[in-house]
Amino acid sequence: MKKRKSLNASTYILIITILLFFVMYAAGMIAFKDKGFAKPQMFLNLFISNAGLLVIAMGETIVMITGGIDISVGSVTALVCMTAANQMQNHGASAWMAVVISLAIGLAFGLVQGYLVAYLDIQPFIVTLAGMFFGRGMTSVISTDMISIKNEQFLSWANHKIYLPIGTYSKRGKFLPAYIYPTVVIALIVLVLIILIMKYTKFGRSVYAIGGNVSSAMMMGLNVRKTKLKAYVLDGFLAGLGGFLFALNSCSGFVEQAKGFEMDAISSSVIGGTLLSGGVGLPFGTLFGVLIKGTISSLITTQGTLSSWWVRITLSALLCFFIVLQAILISMKKKKK
């Protein structure tokens, strides 16, 4: 009974989120029609520029469902980009090697943070705050200058356009097909995989059970510590992968990269209906959280006169709105009891 009610609260939020996305996008289409907001390519650009974020937000969602949080993802992204760039440019590593290094960095972060959270019972926030500063600091240890990636293999991955059968016609009637990059394909595969894992595997269900109520999960015989560790390791792995996708998109590494990314990932999850108290959340909702973030930034860039700070502020305000909404829904639920 309890479970169904809490799911309802989450469903409300998810519906609001999806509606909000469509309203925002439609408003953008009407307001910026002459600037090409209505073109299919504009919609696909949301995915192209946010592929990395989508993957990272998936990991964040899983950790948040366990009742934890990970604010180190932005720094991990920066560290991954910087290490990959540094290895390829200055140490002659191949692009494949860069992939392996990126994933290894993510896994290492996940393992250490997961161990500290799961086996030593330290607050996730403190652990990942330290991780955040550690990652950012290590990035500047590697290099304080910007490194652009010029590896041919890497660039061929980054610029490989996959054309879709949809598109628009130019003024002269020439067909311009819409395209996506391989990063989008990877991100979407990850999305589908995570949805399946969270819904149908033992691990996924354990994550929900632990987030809902740790003691009853323990009484059911679930290994709470192990599941938490796995969740953080998966989150770290996805942060590494997302970081690499981010590198494919930006083709460079620098210290200030992906600053505030953790905020984007957390707000995407929260806006998508993941409860901060844990136990409730859907990867599918997070997708819409990411899309809303993308829409806000492309609306503000298209508008042109507002400073980029407005993206952060709008997103923070939106996050605040959804957090308050959650709090109200939860307190309403308590009153009903």
Binding site: D121, F125, I126, L129, F133, F134, A327
Partner: protein, 359 residues
């Protein structure tokens, strides 16, 4: 009974003091003449003065952070951003919207009050989310952590506002002919006021009891919500004070850099001071000692040619070591491993340092 209590309080401050002494010892070894103080143009000079001076903002922040930690069992990570907001408000009012001025455009008192009010408002916002809506403190303050600098940018219209007036530099410089920098006085004053409030009223006791058990405190008739809210407002206000000191040092409002990464230092100071990050009993003195320890550590690292960008790496390792030491699970494990012994503390530390290096 009294003797026992006394011994306990001594125990609580024992570790922080040892930490401070250890860092100072390293300082003496790496920089000979660390404790040398010279008079130059009627002003005191020396490494140690510099450490105490630079630590002032941190002390002020750590005091606020201690209260928040004690009452709500969470940390306010927006303090750095709130510092930027308060500095931005103050400078913007003083300059009347210009990028650089050589005389005040508005009264100084108005600017300071507005800046502190703005900072307290930020604190109240955090407090409302945490105390009233029961949101995890660090998630609630994450909102201002990200948005705060953006707001500060908007206030200063994206530029660095300079107030090139001598009297504005007083707070971060020297008061009249005093040989001691003003920030030291400011930090001492803040400490004194907060200490008096906590010990002359029952607020200190209330904060501890709410931190230990919020529900039980509510049942004995304490307004837990109000007390938590109050600690966040105080924390915001103190962040505002720290922002003013920092802004006065550079006689400008640099929204991007004022108080950057200071939230980490403040949390670290609280933890180093022997306060449990999960809330409950607290020791203001411990946090203050922690703050000075960190500033000495920072100075040491700078002396060892570590750049400002790389500092967080070392601080992150220190944080992890401290929280691991504090973790109940870790303590239990060590107890079963070693049994109860006098030399336990040292072995604990060594083990944790090893663990930290692996991170």
């Amino acid at each position: 009974m009294k003797k026992k209590l006394k011994r306990l309080t001594e125990m609580n401050l024992f570790m922080p003091v040892i930490c401070l002494l250890a860092v100072l010892l390293i300082n003496v070894i790496t920089t000979p003449g660390f404790f040398r103080i010279t008079m130059n143009q009627g002003v005191l000079y020396g490494y140690i003065i510099d450490v105490i001076n630079r630590a002032s903002e941190l002390v002020v922040l750590a005091v606020g952070m201690t209260l928040v930690t004690a009452a709500s069992g969470g940390q306010d990570i927006s303090v750095g951003a709130v510092m930027a907001v308060s500095a931005a408000i103050c400078c913007q009012i003083l300059s009347g919207g210009e990028a650089s001025v050589t005389s005040y455009q508005n009264s100084m008192i108005l600017a300071v009050i507005a800046a502190l009010a703005g900072a307290a408002l930020c604190g109240a916002f955090n407090g409302f989310l945490v105390a009233k809506l029961n949101i995890q403190p660090m998630v609630a303050t994450l909102i201002l952590f990200t948005a705060g600098r953006g707001i500060a940018q908007l206030i200063t219209k994206g530029q660095i506002t300079y107030v090139r007036v001598d009297s504005y530099k007083t707070l971060g410089g020297y008061l009249g002919k005093s040989p001691v920098p003003t920030p030291i006085f400011a930090a001492a004053l803040v400490l004194l006021v907060v200490w008096l409030i906590l010990h002359k009223t029952s607020l200190g006791l209330y904060i501890e009891s709410v931190g230990v058990n919020s529900t039980a405190s509510h049942l004995v008739g304490l307004n837990s919500t109000m007390i938590k809210f109050l600690t966040y407002v105080i924390c915001g206000l103190l962040a505002g004070v720290a922002g003013l000191i920092a802004s006065s040092r550079i006689y400008s409002a640099d929204a991007n850099n004022i108080g950057l990464n200071l939230e980490m230092d403040a949390i670290l100071a609280v933890a180093l001071g022997g306060n449990v990050l999960g809330g409950g009993k607290f020791s203001l003195m411990g946090s203050v000692i922690g703050a000075y320890t960190i500033q000495s550590l920072t100075t040491t690292l700078y002396a060892m040619n570590v750049s400002a960008d790389q500092l967080p790496v070392y601080k992150a390792i220190v944080v992890i070591v401290i929280v691991t030491l504090q973790s109940p699970v870790f303590r239990k494990k060590m107890k079963t491993l070693r049994g109860k012994g006098g030399g336990m503390r040292k072995s604990k530390e060594r083990a944790a340092v090893k663990g930290g290096n692996q991170v």
